[in-house]
Amino acid sequence: MSDTAPIQTRQFPPPRAAYIHVPFCRRRCGYCTFTLLANRDDLIDRYLLALERELSLLGARQEIDTLFFGGGTPSHLPAEQLERLFEIVWKQFQLADGYECSLEANPADINAARMAVLRQYGVNRLSLGVQSFNAEKLRFLERDHTAGEIYQAFELARESIENVSLDLIFATPQDTPAAWRADLQQALSLSPAHISVYGLTIERGSTFWSRREKGVFASPEEDAERRLFEQAIDTLTQAGFEHYEVSNFAQPGARCRHNETYWRGGSYFAAGPGAARYVAGRRETNHRSTTTYLQRVLAGESPVAESERLAPPDLARERLVFALRMMEGVDITAFQNQTGFSIEEIAGRAVAQFVEWGLLSRTAGQLRLTREGLMVSDSMWERILAV
């Protein structure tokens, strides 16, 4: 597309990314508020049917560069149903050369049969929900694997898929600086291509929320949590990882391209319960209840529960905020070309203030978060978004 195309068209080219939500898990962990069903494997077949129906509405087969299977736990599907999942998705999407196809997996689910299916259908990136190597912490997080199983799963996965990412959680009551160092070191010892570290977020609706309210456990203080986060950033970057987004670290060349599409304001298809898509400038979210999703789709109704199209300046602000969550920041000129708005116009005052306070830095035409800004960035976004 040429640079002279109207901004609307430049802004909303057809998606080159797709997300598939697989809402099944063996069990729900205490901190989880995602769209999923535990112990309802009886619904998998209906889900596959509904997914096929939903995807068929997209019409002609589309070529895409990145595809992401998330959940839930996609790896929870037995090999045979996993195969059917891929058949259904592949019917709709054609992966272009140099594609990235990611799938979220639980260490306990990794076995030869499943790995064979993944390899056969071209999955080339695995995101492994390790969370920790510490037995007590794993128990606290209500995970169903042991540290030993992580090693086995990792070895087995690596036999077929080179690009494996590990998820780690910090800020549990078990996370002393020493315990967290051990987790980080063990993760590094596996030499994964990518590591995501997430501060434990306890949201209303999770069982952790009510347990913490009742005082069953306490989250670390703000200061301690910050030190843990900084410890992770320092440890991983020293080990050669690039800190490229708030919670994401990659070996050179191993960033998750699919997620970068989200953060850069790119378009993407999506299917499955609770899945969110961004197509032609409209953000839509499917119904979060899996059973409602199934009923609606199988009855020939739309699964969409929420839909919005932002006014151009709001869209530009949204884009600015999510792009700034990437550590390399925003190219000021490119931003204006892409959105039709200068940063000055849509958030000039806030940005100037953040630069003055040392929360943003502006160098060589690039606006980016400083370390200090990163730590308190949610408070910055409020000021940019609410005008």
């Binding site: 997300y19 919670s247 408070s379």
Partner: protein, 610 residues
């Protein structure tokens, strides 16, 4: 002959004008209801609970704010009498209205609860009634109570009010016991009004209210002469001439009459569109009477307490003004004028008779309009004599001249009566001493109850003395105060700085000796009210350029969403935008969001730190 005509013929000998002086909750309204019922003025079925208190807020608070006047008929020993009950406000903020109501009566019922006994307010208003030479009818109410201690209370009344125990009437407004005797006592013991129906007209305005259809309803006590429908009258103070369109009495609803004559109590409607044209204490005379003489005792309403009221969102300014205008129509003692604050933008400086009056006005504003308010800490009016001899009234801290220009700084001092059971005398004395009180007297009104009298700065009284008294006496203490005058004091303006910027709306005037303690308390309170920001916030208290206290709101350490992928974008964007919306209800000073209630933080006297 019609009722109206008959009513007009009553002479002074058959009129009794009286009021009821009582503490809150001692049963004044219930007793008034019983009298209305007993005299057949209102039947039980017509009786709304507490008929006289017809404003919602009054009922909620169980206090009477505006005076009312009701005419009743009572036949005794073959003669028919007109009993005019003039209801008085029970609270000290409305003392001037009380004084005008007293001036319209020949008798006052001092009503005391048979269990709670004499309270400070009863004493204060009781003495005021005696000062007005009213006949006193001491009455003990609630004798039906299981825990009544009427004998002791009669003794208390003797000691505190100097009444003869044998003269004390005992009633139960609830059951009606003693009400007949009470009505008889009113006829026998309250003298008839003096005044000549044939003399030139003189009527005292003792209250008013606003009727949206008829305009101002003026409450009058006829002192001399006769007023008739259609007559041209003149309000001496207001210099306003009007025709009487309707006149009559409250029975208790408005009932039109042909005339009102000396001794009677009633209302006039004369096409007055704004209540502030009707001055309480004004004298009404015949318009043609060139030599008319004003009755004594008129005073301008004294606003004792001021505060700033600001819309929390600047756009509501005109809405707030409309709401204040509407309130002022019905309450001439409330005044307001526009002011602006660097910190709060455009708002109004509002003057009130006292703290309760202020609370009532605010509550009405909230109930009757949608304006979200930021209120600054209330302050009293000070007087300053400048070095150049000029005397100024200071209604807000920002108006205090530079220290170097001040010759003398004066503050209002009030005499406070505090009445409580003996065992609480120690804590109450401590309370008053902490507030720079000077003890004036101690009086045992019975073996178990003591009245302390202190002279205190009004500023100390309005902040929290009443609440503190209640907590120091487990609720048994009561207080009342009257203004003594303005006296010099070593006062300073205490400023609050947020990140080096003076927040004008947070300045207070206080005694120099208290400034350190107040300053420390205020900055500490502010520290806890202001949430962590992205930067460190210094909160300082200063006198002039000298910083006397400092607290720091530490910068936020970590506030960052970990997971943010395709499905989170809409949700997070909305969440962040909404959080900021929530903060819009705060006032942003520089870049610091200050919650509304922090503007009341300056009331924290630091007394708990001692």
């Amino acid at each position: 002959m019609t009722q109206i005509a008959r009513a007009a013929q009553i002479d002074c000998q058959h009129i009794r004008n009286f009021c009821i002086v009582a503490h809150i909750d001692h049963g004044k309204s219930t007793l008034a209801d019983r009298l209305l019922e007993f005299t057949g003025t209102v039947t039980r079925r017509e009786m709304k609970e507490q008929l006289l208190d017809d404003m919602d807020i009054e009922r909620e608070r169980g206090i009477t704010i505006k005076a009312r006047a009701v005419a009743m008929r009572f036949t005794f020993e073959g003669e028919t009498y007109e009993l005019n009950l003039i209801d008085t406000p029970g609270h000290v903020d409305f003392q001037y209205e009380v004084s005008r109501a007293l001036a319209c009566c020949e008798g006052a019922m001092l009503l005391v609860d048979a269990f709670q006994g004499v309270e400070a307010q009863t004493v204060a208003n009781g003495y005021a009634a005696m000062d007005n030479n009213l006949a006193i009818l001491p009455v003990i109410n609630k004798i039906d109570l299981k825990h009544q201690r009427a004998d002791e209370v009669a003794e208390e009344m003797e000691h505190s009010l100097g009444v003869d125990q044998d003269d004390v009437l005992r009633v139960s407004a609830k059951t009606g016991a003693g009400v007949q005797e009470l009505a008889e006592a009113i006829v026998r013991r309250v003298p008839p009004p003096k005044g000549d129906p044939e003399a030139p007209l003189q009527a005292m305005v003792f209250d008013s209210h606003y009727d949206e259809f008829r305009g101002a309803i003026t409450y009058v006590r006829m002192m001399n002469g006769t007023v008739r429908k259609g007559q041209k009258i003149r309000f001496l103070r207001a210099g306003m001439t009007r025709e009487v369109i309707e006149l009559g009495q409250f029975t208790p609803q408005r009932t039109a009459r042909r005339q009102l004559q000396a001794g009677q109590v009633g209302y006039l409607i004369c096409n007055i569109k704004a209540l502030d044209d009707v001055n309480i204490g004004d004298t009404i005379v015949d318009a043609a009477d060139e030599n008319a003489v004003a009755l004594q005792g008129y005073e301008e309403p004294k606003r004792m307490v001021y505060c700033g009221l600001y819309p929390s969102d600047g756009q509501d300014f005109s809405e707030l003004r409309d709401a204040l205008d509407k309130l002022a129509i019905n309450d001439p003692s409330f005044e307001f004028e526009p002011e602006s604050s660097e910190a709060l933008g455009f708002g109004f400086r509002c003057g009130f008779l006292g703290l309760l009056h202020m609370e009532i006005v605010q509550q009405r504003l909230e109930q009757e309009s949608d304006v979200d308010l930021v209120q600054t800490a209330p302050n009293v009016t000070y007087e300053v004599t400048k070095k150049n001899g000029e005397i100024i009234s200071v209604h807000r801290p920002q108006e205090v001249p530079d220290l170097g220009d001040i010759e003398e700084f004066r503050q209002p001092i009030v005499r406070v009566n505090l009445l409580q059971p003996v065992e609480f005398v120690g804590p109450v004395m401590k309370l008053c001493q902490e507030r720079r009180g000077v003890q004036h007297g101690t009086e045992y009104i019975s073996t178990t109850r003591v009245m302390l009298t202190y002279d205190l700065p009004l500023a100390e009284v309005i902040y929290d003395l009443h609440d503190k008294l209640k907590s120091a006496t487990r609720g048994y203490g009561t207080m009342d105060y009257e203004l003594l005058g303005y006296f010099p004091a070593d006062l300073v303006r205490l400023d609050i700085l947020v990140n080096g910027k003076r927040v004008d709306a947070l300045s207070v005037i206080c005694n120099r000796g208290d400034a350190d303690r107040r300053g420390r308390a205020v900055v500490k309170k502010l520290r806890s009210e202001i949430s962590r920001h992205m930067f460190e916030i210094a909160v300082q208290a200063a006198i002039g350029s000298r910083v006397i206290a400092r607290e720091t709101v530490k910068a936020m350490r970590k506030n960052v969403t970990a997971k943010c992928y395709g499905g989170d974008i809409s949700r997070k964007r909305k969440l962040w935008a909404k959080q900021k919306e929530g903060k819009k209800r705060m006032k942003s000073i520089g870049s610091v969001d200050i919650p509304q209630k922090a503007f009341m933080a300056v009331l924290d006297t630091g007394a708990n730190e001692k």
